[in-house]
């Protein structure tokens, strides 16, 4: 038998549980039957991809629990054959898949939570960032008119649900009552080697969005003086590396 034909038969047999074509071509290991030997590889494939999804989307596993998580992972694997070389790159479309999944009726935040965790891992694999006080060299009189750009490893989020809180709890026991029905805003940022999530008020989120969109500090400000003061204190003390434009 030609190599290409054998491999085609092998692949078909892994993809289709009912396909028995490979059985007559092989000698199984040990005391396994041919069907059991093929099942070793079939099971391995699903186990490896499920494990990969579990590592990449731990927060979804936390929310759904074992049974529902592995069920949705299995469905995803069956409809999304892997074409990547590295398991860490698999399941890029999992957030989109969850968006229309029936489980999202019970947990409407699933897709956005998965997307948040995906960005977390993206930051994890990016080079470390240098931190500095973004306002250190700017005279007070010039600050209001200044505009800033955001570092690549910094993202702003605002949701109708407490996604940052769920994400934070992801490594804990999943039998805890989830209190996710509160709007929340946050900034995800890589500082040196560390990835941090900073909780924001909605006004602080809006202010940062305005700055991010190129508005001057003066015209970006939203909310009361406490909001503004604590936001700028956060940017300075945590040394969020905003870069002054021109």
């Amino acid at each position: 038998m030609k190599l290409a034909d054998f491999q085609k038969t092998f692949l078909n047999s892994i993809q289709d549980d009912q396909n028995i074509e490979l059985q007559s071509l092989i000698k199984p290991a040990g005391t396994l039957s041919a069907a059991q030997a093929i099942q070793v590889y079939r099971g391995d494939y699903k186990a490896r991809l499920s494990e990969a999804i579990g590592e990449l989307y731990e927060s979804i596993w936390y929310v759904l629990g074992d049974e529902e998580f592995f069920s949705v992972a299995k469905e995803y694997i069956e409809s999304h054959p892997s074409s990547v070389k590295e398991l860490g790159s698999y399941a890029k479309d999992f957030p989109i898949y969850l968006k229309t999944h029936p489980l999202s009726e019970d947990f409407p935040f699933l897709s956005q939570l998965a997307e948040f965790e995906q960005i977390f891992w993206k930051f994890f694999h990016q080079a470390e960032t240098q931190i500095y006080d973004p306002f250190i060299d700017i005279e007070a009189k010039d600050l209001g008119a200044s505009t800033f750009s955001f570092p690549e490893q910094c993202r702003l989020f605002s949701w109708p649900w407490s996604i940052d809180k769920i994400f934070e709890a992801r490594s804990g026991e999943s039998d805890q009552e989830l209190d996710w029905d509160q709007p929340s805003s946050c900034m995800l940022v890589k500082l040196n080697q560390r990835i941090s999530v900073f909780k924001l008020t909605h006004h602080q989120y809006r202010t940062l969005c305005n700055i991010c969109n190129g508005d001057s500090i003066e015209s970006s400000l939203e909310g009361n003086p406490e909001d503004v003061s604590s936001l700028f204190s956060l940017l300075r003390t945590q040394m969020i590396p905003l870069r002054k434009k021109s």
Partner: protein
């Protein structure tokens, strides 16, 4: 902390390196030390191709004082599909940066380009397959500008009309393509039980001129078959195979592989010391 290097080999064994795999479980310990803790580290190539984050920082940290071997799982050298040029390019880039002492993968295929099974899959040991793999190995070596080392598999099924066995295939491949062998003694033992052949006889057929690296690991007995789990200490039958091989060893790198239920680093170093004890008695 046990120092593996404290156990000196005989002069005759001075070129044999004994190392362990770089695994994230041990990152906190390794970050805390600047010392050389073993003769070399082996890294899974794919885990470092697409990252500039902590894994890459860790690799850069350990390679300041340790030689690095790169071991891949996705080359799919025996696939009948086209070689993945994007993957090869990433592999070449990483190898150029790391300058590994050995660049290895497995003598297997891992699925099709459109459907990767993420597994090390057996294929027919036929003359047609041999010609195909020889051509691909030569292409890859030219592309990477480095010699390629290929590992024997642990397999749970084999083609029932093989024209040669795995060792004959590997010896022939090395002779014609100029690559070398990563001899996994655990895989050899697991296959000998699963397929039903004499591991010692098989070992005697291997041309050690081609063996550049050796892997040692622990297997699990599932009752119906042995499974290559890399989840425990090296078992006695595998140590026996190392003892039988030692007179043929000269400048190979020997690795303790442990990928599941990974223990404290000390446990790995204790295994490294066992290897060095065995090699010390070479005479």
């Amino acid at each position: 902390m046990l120092k593996a290097g404290s156990l000196k080999l005989n002069q005759a064994d001075k070129n044999i390196l004994v190392g362990v795999g770089l695994r994230h479980t041990h990152f906190p310990y390794l970050e805390s030390t600047q010392e050389k803790v073993c003769d070399f580290f082996e890294v899974i190539s794919e885990n470092f191709m697409n990252t500039l984050g902590r894994p890459r920082r860790m690799l850069d940290h350990v390679r300041k004082v340790h030689p690095i071997a790169m071991h891949g799982v996705s080359l799919s050298i025996a696939s009948s599909d086209e070689l993945d040029t994007k993957y090869l390019s990433q592999l070449r880039n990483l190898a150029q940066e790391i300058n590994p002492i050995i660049l290895s993968d497995h003598l297997c295929w891992t699925g099709g380009n459109a459907h990767n099974l993420h597994n090390l899959l057996p294929f027919p040991y036929t003359n047609e397959a041999l010609e195909h793999v020889i051509e691909r190995v030569q292409y890859v070596q030219d592309y990477l500008q480095r010699p390629l080392t290929l590992e024997n598999l642990s397999a749970y099924l084999s083609y029932n009309k093989n024209e040669m066995d795995e060792i004959e295939f590997m010896n022939e491949l090395c002779q014609k393509a100029g690559c070398s062998i990563l001899l996994d003694l655990n895989n050899l033992y697991v296959n000998s039980v699963n397929i039903g052949f004499d591991a010692k006889k098989a070992l005697s057929k291997i041309n050690f001129d081609y063996v550049k690296q050796i892997h040692l690991a622990g297997y699990s007995d599932f009752g119906t078959h042995l499974f290559d789990t890399h989840s425990k200490e090296v078992q006695e039958p595998v140590w026996e195979l190392l003892k039988l091989s030692k007179s043929k060893l000269s400048d190979q790198a020997i690795l303790i592989e442990w990928d599941e239920d990974i223990p404290e680093f000390d446990v790995l170093l204790a295994e490294v010391s066992k290897v060095k004890e065995i090699l010390k008695d070479k005479a």
